[in-house]
């Protein structure tokens, strides 16, 4: 929002939108209105509250208020055993529980210096990539609904249902899995799991194309997202953005590539970044495109894993699971690439207790959301909704 004094014409209120300047009103004194968006609002994706200062349809300032879903995750961790923290991590990013478990287990295993059986690593990668697809489907679907398209949302949920059914078969739960344990897995995957996963991959590819034609190539969708909420790469890095958000700004940064863990170095997959042809680099459409392209990469990873996966002979998913987790005194930071960015756990051990002295979660959503104030300045209310949607926040992880 800028105020320009023009000779003899009074003040013009201008809103800077992408590259054009829209004159909104002339010589019209308006009062600013405080508009509280949330915590009960359909497009804040949970219990986020935005206090917007609005001038007509223009949001001059939006301040996010957090904490409605704060459940003292970090304090709880100090009072339970290391393996008992895993179910809590499910409840952080409830759309990608397995990915959160994986990040936590990586941190603890680093602290314990554990060697993990190879088949366990493959299963972990398969289920976490499946969960990543499910999470991206929710992100894309809810983004469509934010922009008023209802059908892509239900198409996404229809396909997500197949993934959830598979994960339920493998882990026994649809949302809060507690599947990846420190040093191993709760169970081996059931017989015939690989075939079913491959069947899903073959089923899903045409569906992803259909989704792309319905949503991503839709003229109105492009009009609503292109050039909105542009985040330059340097600002994004300064904010500490990660994941699809940072890649949407054109930075090729993926923990699976840049700080590889598990078996990712052996796998062949691309880190998609927008090339600026379809979208303006850093806008809402870029972030959406990155998610859409990542689904394809995840499918590729799953196929390769099933190809290379070692057999079941002599395999015990709990063979490396320690009876009692009591690490040496020290500290560790373990991180993994979650669907929403870098999820890291900083764990401090005093060497005596079976529960951590301190466990700090570096939440990707929280960091991504911190740029909201910058992104929302001078946007229209519908654009604000589009920006929140493109951030793809899960309030369970923001507030922890």
């Amino acid at each position: 929002m800028q105020e320009l004094e023009m000779a003899g014409q009074g003040s013009l209120r201008l809103s800077r939108k992408s590259d054009t300047i829209v004159v909104l009103e002339k010589d019209l004194s308006t009062e600013q209105m405080v508009l509280s968006m949330g915590p009960q609002h359909p497009s804040t994706h949970g219990v986020l509250r935005l206090e917007c200062l609005t001038d007509g349809e223009v949001v001059t300032e939006a301040e996010p208020y957090l904490g409605y879903l704060h459940r003292c995750f970090e304090k709880h961790c100090e009072h339970v055993d290391y393996p008992a923290i895993v179910p809590y991590t499910d409840r952080m990013d409830y759309l990608a529980g397995i990915n959160s478990e994986m990040a936590y287990c990586i941190a603890v295993e680093k602290l314990l210096d554990l060697e993990i059986p190879r088949r366990v690593e493959f299963i972990r990668v398969i289920v976490s990539e499946l969960n990543r697809i499910a999470s991206h489907l929710v992100a894309i679907g809810t983004y469509a609904i934010d922009l008023g398209a209802f059908t892509p949302f239900l198409f996404c949920f229809r396909d997500r249902e197949h993934i959830l059914n598979m994960l339920e078969w493998a882990t026994g739960a649809r949302m809060l899995y507690n599947y990846i344990w420190v040093g191993g897995l709760a169970y081996d995957v059931p017989a015939g799991f690989n075939e079913r996963v491959l069947e899903f991959v073959n089923y899903f590819r045409p569906k992803a194309l259909e989704l792309q034609q319905l949503l991503t190539e839709n003229e109105i969708f492009v009009k609503r997202t292109k050039g909105i909420g542009i985040m330059p790469a340097d600002v994004a890095i300064n904010y500490g953005w990660s994941g699809p958000m940072l890649r949407g700004s054109g930075v090729q940064w993926d923990i699976r590539r840049n700080d590889p863990y598990s078996i990712y170095p052996e796998l062949d997959f691309a880190v998609p970044v927008p090339d600026g042809k379809l979208s303006v680099v850093g806008d809402c459409l870029s972030r959406h495109l990155v998610r859409a392209l990542e689904i394809e990469e995840s499918l590729k990873i799953i196929e390769q894993c099933i190809d290379k996966m070692p057999g079941t002979q002599g395999f015990d998913p709990r063979s490396a699971v320690p009876k009692r987790v009591r690490p040496k005194a020290g500290e560790v930071y373990g991180r993994a690439e979650n669907p929403r960015g870098e999820l890291g756990f900083y764990i401090q051990s005093d060497g005596k207790s079976t529960s951590p002295l301190r466990c700090k979660a570096r939440s990707s959503c929280f960091v991504n959301l911190s740029a909201m104030k910058d992104l929302s300045r001078g946007q229209l209310i519908p654009d604000l909704v589009a920006i929140i949607g493109s951030l793809d926040i899960v309030l369970g992880e923001v507030d922890r």
């Binding site: 609002h41 008023g148 059908t151 198409f155 109105i220 229209l380 209310i381 519908p382």
Partner: protein, 358 residues
């Protein structure tokens, strides 16, 4: 057909036992019952089922076979609901809003020819009346949005008023093209001018090579006038919760919905009257097989106009479940910089066509 024109409505109007104008009441009641029935069956249940089939779902399945009675259950629920008026609301405006809205939507049905034999009021400026009276809805929307004393409702109301008032211009100019082709604003006359033994070939849409332009313009503008997607900005549920009727519950909410379904049918009926022959049968006489003659008559007329209206409502639903929503400024852009100029162009072209091409 000329002698049977408006036979039913004239007979009803003459039905005055003991000096009471009961017949006139029945004439007014027929569109009301029609709106209620169609909103119940096709409007709510139909839309839920159609959207379900578009989205790989089943839709309502629990109440009755295939969920047929679901809408009745919903109505019963709405009737039993507490009629809440928020304490900080402007009571008068809050209560009067849905009423004005419904009256605006319902009054237009007075000039709607349901059949060659039935029209509520055979005005010689019927089309003009239909365009004008719908604008009354704006007052109701503004009253409802302002009276709710809710910021989201206010946004919805202001957006809605801006949208409806703007889109009336291209819509009216597009309809003027049709009126120019007919040379009259009388709804029945417009219909009669489009009847003939070749069925659809007599419809105004196929009578001039320019007619498709006002037809498209009016269709797009009518979507905006009745707040349907992709122009459902006033009630954008992901932005404004529910727009101007956020605070309404119970029967007031139902009345707003009824008004919305009424307008949906109204614009669909107007587009079919002005461009697609209204109650005329689209089937042509093919040699000895007189399909057109067989499907013409008062009852067939009602069938054709309602089917054509339902077809356009289906297209509205189809668009709603396919397209995302436009932004406010994009909406205004479409209206003022695309539709209005093209409406003027089609107006001039139609005038030239009507004058120089007999």
């Amino acid at each position: 057909m000329g002698n049977s024109l408006n036979a039913w409505s004239d007979a009803l109007a003459g039905f005055q036992p003991a000096g009471l104008p009961l017949g006139l009441l029945i004439i007014a009641a027929i569109p009301l019952v029609f709106i209620a029935l169609y909103a119940l069956t096709y409007g709510v249940y139909g839309e839920r089922k159609i959207s379900a089939f578009m989205q790989d779902r089943l839709g309502p399945m629990e109440v009755g076979k295939w969920g047929i009675l679901q809408t009745l259950a919903d109505i019963l629920k709405l009737l039993q609901k507490e009629d809440i008026v928020p304490t900080s609301a402007d009571k008068f405006l809050f209560v009067i809003g849905p009423g004005v809205l419904f009256v605006g939507s319902f009054l237009a049905f007075a000039v709607l020819p349901f059949s060659p034999a039935f029209i509520g009021a055979n005005l010689n400026v019927g089309l003009f009346f239909a365009i004008g009276i719908v604008a009354l809805e704006v007052v109701g929307i503004l009253a409802a949005g302002w009276g709710s004393n809710n910021k989201w409702s206010l946004y919805g109301a202001v957006r809605s008023v801006a949208q409806i008032v703007s889109y009336e211009i291209p819509a009216a100019i597009a309809l003027l093209c049709g009126a120019m082709m007919a040379g009259t604003l009388d709804m029945q006359q417009i219909n009669i001018l489009q009847s003939g033994t070749y069925g659809f070939a007599h419809f105004f849409l196929f009578q001039s090579p320019i007619a498709w332009l006002p037809f498209l313009i009016y269709f797009i503008a009518s979507l905006a006038e009745v707040n349907r997607a992709p122009f459902d900005i006033p009630e954008a549920e992901s932005e404004l919760v529910a727009g101007y009727f956020t605070e309404y519950s119970g029967m007031k909410f139902a009345v707003i919905f009824l008004a919305e379904y009424g307008s949906m049918f109204m614009v669909s009926a107007i587009i079919s009257i002005v461009f697609l022959g209204g109650w005329n049968s689209p089937l042509p006489n093919i040699g000895p097989i007189a399909l057109n003659d067989m499907t013409t008559g008062p009852v067939w007329g009602a069938f054709w106009i309602i089917s054509k209206g339902f077809f356009f409502i289906f297209v509205q639903m189809w668009l709603r479940w396919t397209l995302p929503r436009l932004r406010v400024d994009q909406l205004m852009y479409v209206c003022w910089k695309v539709l209005t100029p093209f409406a003027f162009v089609s107006f001039v072209l139609t005038a030239i066509w009507e004058i120089y091409v007999p």
